[in-house]
């Protein structure tokens, strides 16, 4: 199902034309209202008149997370405070939090994009939908909430934290859809099994998962344990929140609402724009936002773009699964390692729980990678040899995927900390020394 055919199925020429017009207006808006951008454009000898078509986007400056921090709290806001009707903020674990102000128009755009996402998963007014993202400064909860409500489904704002109550509501309210992080979905499945419930006791059909990178293996695992169809929901608060892109039932890339958020892929080292199909850093320009519009914001997410009409009928550019974040990437003994690679290996082996922790350290000036993983109860053996062979099998697979050897540690069930939000999967002790 398609929420907005005229925008989601637009021809490429019409889309480029629309994007070009919107980009010109955006250049005018930030040039006149955001000193940070005016100075950057002046330094590049640019005026809004130089930005006429979408191709001109290459002339515009990039924006980084650091720019947002440097202009904390509201330095990049283009609207007057009286125009701002909502503020969200990203966690400030490594510095100032990022404050994002939304105008009424911004909230309408967000609601529209979020509704496109849920419609593409097949959510209708007949669904009962649980939003299990955190409500609050984080955009996940409210972003999904307004989209589902706009579609006309019944929203259950479960939020995070009370898993037992969540399970009870899933069963008793015959909830048909859920939005949460993929790791929380697995946590729910585990809690369900622990409470003696099976997927027959719940009625879930549709799951919208995002806010952290996940893999195809994780999708299979969630689908089989919860008995639903699992779809990707992508977004980031700097751009707007969930709804920036979303999968359709073809599960072949996430459609970007590119009439509002123009995507580019760049080489993170040279900053050169890359052609479709090349993996690199995803960059977004908010074409229509008026609260805190951003030019060429570097997301740090590594992916590639597909510019082909999808079987579902949508023509919007799709982004492939995020393979990692350019700042999540671990460089171990000179080799690039993504936690998602380790995850896919672990999920392929039924002997292990879908939990892991990577501990990176430097011992005698040599980088070490330890992979801690929990063995499923049913797969324990009384014989040391069997356990050691299991450990070796995982170590061998990891070596072939990562190209470096990892020290595998078999752990007791439930010994790796669970999280209800974004999970911490890497401890890099090298940074602490």
């Amino acid at each position: 199902m398609i929420w907005n055919k005229s925008k989601e199925c637009m021809s490429r020429d019409e889309m480029s034309d629309l994007q070009g017009k919107r980009l010109h207006k955006l250049a005018e808006l930030v040039y006149h209202n955001v000193p940070f951008y005016r100075e950057k454009m002046q330094a590049l000898d640019l005026t809004p008149e130089d930005i006429k078509s979408i191709e001109d986007i290459k002339k515009l400056p990039f924006t980084t997370k650091q720019d947002l921090r440097d202009n904390y709290p509201t330095g990049l806001q283009a609207a007057n405070q009286s125009e701002i009707v909502r503020v969200h903020a990203s966690s400030g674990t490594t510095g100032n939090p990022t404050i994002v102000g939304y105008t009424r128009r911004d909230l309408e755009i967000w609601q529209e994009c979020s509704a496109r996402a849920f419609t593409s998963y097949g959510v209708t007014r007949n669904d009962v939908f649980s939003v299990g993202y955190g409500y609050g400064l984080f955009t996940g909860g409210l972003g999904a909430h307004y989209g589902v409500e706009y579609v006309g489904a019944t929203v259950i704002p479960t939020s995070t934290g009370n898993t037992d109550k969540h399970l009870r509501l899933l069963r008793d309210l015959k909830i048909t859809g859920i939005a949460c992080t993929p790791s929380y979905a697995l946590y729910l499945a585990e809690a369900m099994e622990r409470n003696g419930m099976t997927r027959e006791d719940i009625h879930l059909k549709i799951g919208a998962f995002g806010a952290e990178p996940w893999t195809e293996n994780m999708r299979d695992e969630i689908e089989s344990r919860l008995g639903l169809q699992a779809y990707n929901l992508y977004g980031l608060s700097e751009i707007i929140g969930p709804g920036v892109s979303y999968e359709c039932t073809c599960k072949n890339g996430s459609h970007i609402s590119e009439d509002h958020f123009y995507p580019e892929i760049i080489n993170p080292d040279t900053l050169e724009p890359q052609p479709y199909g090349t993996t690199g850093e995803l960059v977004f320009t908010t074409l229509t936002k008026t609260g805190m519009p951003l030019l060429r914001y570097r997301t740090k997410d590594l992916t590639s773009l597909i510019n082909e009409k999808c079987e579902c009928g949508r023509t919007n550019v799709r982004m492939t699964r995020i393979i990692g974040r350019s700042d999540d990437m671990l460089i171990i003994r000179g080799i690039n390692v993504f936690p998602s690679q380790v995850e896919s290996v672990i999920l392929e082996m039924p002997e292990f729980e879908p939990r892991y922790m990577l501990v990176v350290d430097r011992i005698n000036s040599l980088d070490t990678l330890q992979v801690q993983v929990e063995v499923r109860r049913d797969y324990f053996s009384d014989e040391l040899g069997t356990m050691l062979r299991l450990r070796k099998r995982l170590a061998d697979k990891l070596k072939s995927v990562l190209s470096i050897s990892a020290d595998v540690r078999l752990m007791e069930p439930n010994s790796i900390p669970r999280s209800e939000g974004k999970s911490v999967r890497v401890i890099d002790k090298r940074q602490l020394k």
């Binding site: 063995v375 324990f380 009384d382 356990m387 540690r409 752990m411 069930p413 439930n414 010994s415």
Partner: protein
């Protein structure tokens, strides 16, 4: 005779073994024999208790990964050469011992054996050493 042995997977971290002992103590379960096989990062504790079902339940409730294995328990005279005779009989029949442990007290020693072929092992002992079962 064959008895049920409890095997517990333990991460090598301090206090974990005491945690097993504490859980058993809190439930008044007495350990009759145990041994530990260890690697650099984990160990397997093999345990013989009287109330097997209860012990399994309380250990699982406490979060331990526990499995049950059939092992052979024999009583061997506590004197030089006694064990050797038994092992010789088993070796002759190509019975391989995965692991074993023993506790000697006064007149006899209790030996726990996990053979690769339990049926065959029982048969050999019934025939050759019926007094030790």
């Amino acid at each position: 005779m064959t008895i049920k042995q409890i095997s517990i997977f333990l991460e090598n971290k301090s206090g974990r073994l005491n945690e097993v002992a504490r859980v058993l103590a809190a439930n008044s379960i007495n350990m009759k024999a145990f041994c530990i096989a260890e690697t650099t990062d984990f160990g397997l504790m093999r345990l013989i208790v009287e109330e097997v079902d209860k012990a399994v339940k309380v250990l699982r409730d406490a979060g331990f990964a526990v499995i049950l294995t059939d092992v052979l328990s024999i009583h061997c005279p506590n004197q030089p050469g006694a064990l050797s005779k038994i092992l010789e009989s088993l070796a002759k029949e190509q019975i391989f011992i995965e692991y074993m442990y023993a506790f000697a007290q006064s007149e006899r020693a209790d030996v726990v054996i996990n053979p690769n072929d339990m049926e065959k092992c029982l048969k050999v002992i019934r025939e050759k050493h019926p007094d030790i079962l």
